[in-house]
């Protein structure tokens, strides 16, 4: 036994030294782990195998048809992990491990662009007609009039309703199209009384619904100079009132986390969902609800001049890092696929469900095809059309911080706290977070 243990330990030591050498060898083989030194290859960080990664792979295949030998190496990196890595690289002052192209969430990008401007490449001179993307979508990846990203994934907000539940209460999708939140509340109460189901649900732990309501008015929780603007913000106060009232009147069901959110959909406890259009993928995974769902615009805030029925939630764009060794290739690749090709967008739609922000793509036949799951509505062209109406608002690098502050305030108000005090607290917290 003694000998055996001793030998195991010795073998371990030998193995370690071998690996130390082997590891070094491996490193030399694969070259630099970050951006690709090969003149015809680009490395990409992205997440979601069936969506972003697949779209990127298809773009590469498409591009390789005219550019022999071109290839991309996609390293699966979750959005949060991508941000951790970027922060680590930036703080270490060493971007050499960054890839050529990186996918980032629209809502978090501004913070990284402002904190680490030297991590990204200015794409303003790229061969892309920027006006072909919605104005708001462009704004997410812009700073001082310069373009840094190629918009990809569409985050236009849609309202999805179960038409069977609506019919049970005597309503159709038209009754919920282009309405205000007050009208929505009336219908919601009625639906709850007649069917026992809620017209909408929302995660109590994230403030997405509040943000969508506020931003659908072209407003945000910051003023034009980027300072926290919650107290005295007419839009915010109105939205808070509406939201609290909806909870009180059993129109919105509050749930705790994302898993429960999905469960509420699959078990048919909710008659409606309002979220970024990427939610359609979750709906469509519940096959036995095929034909029961339809989509329309979200309600708009009452009594606000700038209010619209359109907002954005989520979405992402492609960025070229400053570490990219072959910027011309990367720019040409992105410009000729994601930046300008309706054929490309047509080809990825049926495969991945990735809906374009590129407005001309919405006019194509593929985008206008009826979707069986949504009772034969042509949802893709509808969504692209919605995205052209989303109002612009002052963006802030502190999107997630402001969302958290307003959500905490709303939660407290719903629980009975004084509204003014809660909003003041939120204003103070946000101001503090902005100094961090």
């Amino acid at each position: 036994m003694k000998k055996r243990l001793l030998s195991v330990l010795l073998v371990g030591t030998v193995a370690m030294s071998l690996v130390a050498c082997g590891g070094g060898g491996k490193k030399a083989d694969s070259g630099d782990s970050g951006s690709s030194a090969d003149s015809n290859k680009l490395t990409v960080w992205a997440w979601d195998q069936t969506f972003n990664i697949k779209s990127m792979q298809m773009a590469a295949d498409e591009y390789a048809k005219d550019h022999e030998g071109f290839e991309v190496e996609i390293i699966e990196t979750g959005s949060d992990d991508c941000q951790t890595k970027l922060t680590t690289c930036a703080n270490a002052g060493d971007y050499s491990t960054m890839p050529d192209i990186v996918l980032m969430q629209d809502n978090s990008y501004q913070k990284y662009l402002k904190s680490y401007p030297d991590a990204f490449t200015d794409l303003s001179d790229m061969d892309v007609t920027w006006e072909d993307f919605g104005e708001l979508k462009q704004a997410y990846s812009m700073l001082d009039g310069k373009h840094y990203g190629v918009p990809f994934d569409n985050g236009a907000v849609i309202a999805c309703y179960r038409t069977d539940i609506l019919a049970e209460a005597g309503y159709t999708i038209d009754d919920l199209t282009d309405i205000t939140w007050s009208r929505f509340m009336e219908i919601g109460q009625d639906v709850h009384e007649k069917t026992g189901k809620y017209l909408l649900m929302n995660q109590a732990t994230d403030g997405d619904l509040m943000m969508m309501m506020i931003q659908s008015c072209g407003a945000n929780l910051v003023d034009e100079d980027g300072n926290a603007f919650i107290v005295g913000n007419e839009v915010v106060e109105k939205c808070v009132d509406l939201y609290a009232e909806m909870i009180e009147k059993d129109v919105v069901k509050l749930i705790n986390n994302w898993d429960e959110y999905v469960q509420t959909i699959t078990t048919g406890q909710t008659a409606g969902v309002i979220n970024g259009n990427w939610i359609t993928a979750t709906l469509m995974s519940t096959e036995d609800q095929k034909g029961l769902w339809e989509i329309t615009t979200m309600p708009k805030v009452d009594g606000i001049d700038t209010a619209t029925n359109y907002a954005n939630n989520g979405g992402s764009s492609w960025y070229i890092t400053s570490n990219c060794k072959n910027k011309e290739l990367a720019m040409d690749f992105l410009a000729s696929t994601f930046g300008s090709s309706t054929e490309f967008y047509d080809s990825i739609l049926p495969e991945t469900g990735a809906i374009s922000c590129y407005l001309p793509a919405g006019e194509s036949e593929v985008y206008n095809e009826p979707n069986e799951f949504f009772n034969n509505q042509p949802i893709f062209s509808t969504i692209v059309e919605y995205s052209s109406h989303i109002p612009e608002f002052t963006s802030t690098p502190y999107h997630y911080e402001s969302r958290e502050c307003i959500n905490t305030a709303v939660g407290n108000i719903v629980d009975g706290a004084d509204k003014d005090a809660a909003l003041k607290e939120a204003q103070k917290t946000l101001e503090f977070k902005m100094t961090e």
């Binding site: 330990l9 490193k27 997440w47 195998q49 969506f51 898993d259 469960q263 078990t267 993928a281 995974s285």
Partner: protein, 275 residues
């Protein structure tokens, strides 16, 4: 003891057993649920179905078509076993040294070491990354294990246990002509088997489950480990719960096996090695 007494004492145990059954159920249920979920479709899982289904093969196929399961399993095994062996060797030598050859200066050094335990790993990540990147250790096994092979906790554990190691044996061994290294390898290690087992379980699990550091330093798809693979399964717009649970199952089995195999020694090692 009369029959009456016996049944009375048995009756007194009933609440204890009920309590134990409830606690066992609470600990085992998540494991059961994980296995059941791995055999159901995503929609069924989200609808709360807890009876095992027939969808396991499909979930498994989806998993291996989307993720490099075998490569990640191999990487995780390789890095975790290597880390465990090297960590045990280094930390036990250190712990042994601190206890057996102890003097004032070493005690002072040991306090510094304990202080290092208070520094969270995230705080050292940026400088570590900088060092490792400059040294060309990204995507290598050495890069993976280096920050993990010498932990204050392990050194402390070995030092505490070395305290119970009889000094007489060392004296006797010295008289018999063994040198210090031989004493360590021939006397200390065999006597401290259960401490090693406990340390091995802890180190293996830490290495197997480590996420943040590998995620930063292992930047190649081919260097992916199991926790990184699991994380990738939940980053998409749609979570396939069945496939996710299938992945989690594969990630949990090895740690379960290691624990079950070394369970007895683990318990002994935690409570004190030398009887």
């Amino acid at each position: 003891m009369t029959k009456k007494n016996k049944s009375a004492s048995q009756r007194r145990l009933i609440p204890t057993y009920i309590f134990l059954v409830i606690v066992s159920f609470i600990s085992v249920f998540p494991l059961y649920w994980m296995i059941a979920a791995a055999t159901n479709t995503s929609t069924d899982v989200s609808r709360g179905k807890i009876i095992p289904g027939t969808y396991f093969i499909e979930n498994f196929r989806n998993l291996i078509s989307q993720q490099p399961l075998w490569g990640s399993l191999w990487n995780s095994f390789f890095y975790a076993i290597l880390t465990t062996i090297v960590c045990l060797l280094i930390c036990s030598i250190a712990g042994y040294g601190f206890e057996i050859y102890h003097d004032k200066a070493k005690d002072g050094l040991f306090s510094v070491l304990l202080l290092a335990m208070m520094v969270p790993q995230v705080a050292t990540m940026v400088p570590l990354f900088q060092m490792f990147s400059k040294a060309g250790l990204l995507n290598t096994a050495v890069g993976f294990m280096m920050p993990m092979i010498s932990t204050p906790f392990m050194i402390m554990m070995f030092r505490q246990n070395a305290r119970a190691f009889p000094v007489d044996i060392i004296e006797a061994a010295r008289i018999d002509g063994l040198n210090e290294l031989q004493i360590f390898f021939r006397m200390f290690i065999p006597t401290m088997r259960s401490t090693y087992a406990a340390a091995a379980v802890i180190t293996f699990m830490n290495a197997w489950n480590s996420y943040l550091w590998p995620k930063v330093i292992m930047q190649d798809n081919s260097a992916m480990t199991m926790p990184m693979l699991i994380a990738n399964l939940i980053t998409g717009y749609v979570t396939d719960y069945g496939m996710l649970m299938c992945g989690v199952l594969f990630c949990s089995i090895p740690t379960m096996i290691v624990f079950f195999v070394l369970q007895k020694q683990f318990a002994e090692g935690i409570t004190g090695a030398v009887k």
